[in-house]
Symmetry: C2
Subunit: 248 residues, 2 copies
Amino acid sequence: MIKPVSRSTLVGTLRQQVLQEIVDQYQQKNLKLPPEQEMALQLNVARNTLRQVLCQLESEGFIIRKHGKGTFINPEALQINVNLQELIDFSDIVRKCGHVPSNTIHSLKEVEADAKLAALLEVPQGHRLLQVEYWIYADGAPAIVAVGWCARDIFSTALDISAWEKDSYFQVLQERAGRMVKSDRLKFSTLTVQQANMLLGHETCLSCDSVLVIDSVAFDQQGTPMIFGKALFDTTLIQFDLFRTIKE
Amino acid sequence: MIKPVSRSTLVGTLRQQVLQEIVDQYQQKNLKLPPEQEMALQLNVARNTLRQVLCQLESEGFIIRKHGKGTFINPEALQINVNLQELIDFSDIVRKCGHVPSNTIHSLKEVEADAKLAALLEVPQGHRLLQVEYWIYADGAPAIVAVGWCARDIFSTALDISAWEKDSYFQVLQERAGRMVKSDRLKFSTLTVQQANMLLGHETCLSCDSVLVIDSVAFDQQGTPMIFGKALFDTTLIQFDLFRTIKE
DNA sequence: GAGTGGTCTAGACCACGGC
DNA sequence: CCGTGGTCTAGACCACTCT
């Protein structure tokens, strides 16, 4: 079986190393990082390369850089649980919220693309789609209901339910279709549970009164839509965070 | 009155120029941008500087870069209305959703910080806070209810309601407290309208069944919390988008 | 003035896609 | 092979903070 390639770039490695340094220093209550020049020297990279990493970490909120003073660890950032900025699997979301995840495939079927799905996935109307509905639990309590659609023909082999019963949704796509999710676009809305049940056409397992709805279209490297997903979250169990920084 | 400074950096200017180029080319149905070398030459900047801008635009979804092929405009990106990644005012959110905004100050009062607010704003419990409740309308229909708290003593002058009755929340802070919001952290949840009314202790103007709740803490350049805000959105009127890209 | 982050440049070399 | 984006370096100079 072809394994996902882990091309390691200097920047990627650096990022890991600097993040580790941040966590270590944080535990020792030392919030000030060394000057950029010194860090670059120690890590044996150009200052520009290091700065690329530091810029990334700043925009994600891990550090705060103060002109003329230095670079400091942002204690706030280490308290975030689920960063909306990261593309991660449902199981990891549950895990990051401090719960033990488990999941079941509620249903798997082939359907025809209606007008809306066809437009989103850029396939002709009536195109054969795979529709998968997942239920994800946090410590046994229903936390997420997710429905995903993708074109049947992106898979070269037949797929049974067991293929989908793994932790990673993205992994299935990479292994079975050879395509990676590179980016996605989310849309946020809310529904009461009654409305959600009506939308899905059956009772969901969720026990809360209202749900957070995230519609997502995932794209591959070429910008071609691969999956459309609709996920319902019980926000008493799953809490998303988003750290934002002013541009410019 | 001290005006907000608009320090223009090369990268900032470049960004505007490249974005303009993208919009222009898009309208001419030409999705391929010139090679980086050529663009850099035309714009009279180093390729690295241009690349910095292109990286930004790629992570925001405006362009897709294909190794060995070129840089292409992402038509998807130009269809997004409210990008969650941007820190913008409520009025702008309404505007970007295609509606005409208007707003009223529902209430303005001084309160004492309870344990939760004190922790979030990093002030002692019982500290004097200003509490402002806004109602924002889209084409006259109630769309957002927002409550904000900040320490009374960050303002040097007394504040009456009229001071808050402007479009920009951020502007009030900059003009009256001399401090800029640099970043913020959001938390997402949902409530039914009944629950929301109970939380606020009075009837809201919202006419939907469930609301999207965004709790935000805004920080200044130093990483000091300035405002805590709780905003309730009618997602039938306000739709947030978020474009994400895989890191590394 | 010393220390530190912010900006920008010039150029080398690598890796991918297509002819 | 060429054209293109991806990575990395070295170093110049500016701007802010503190003493």
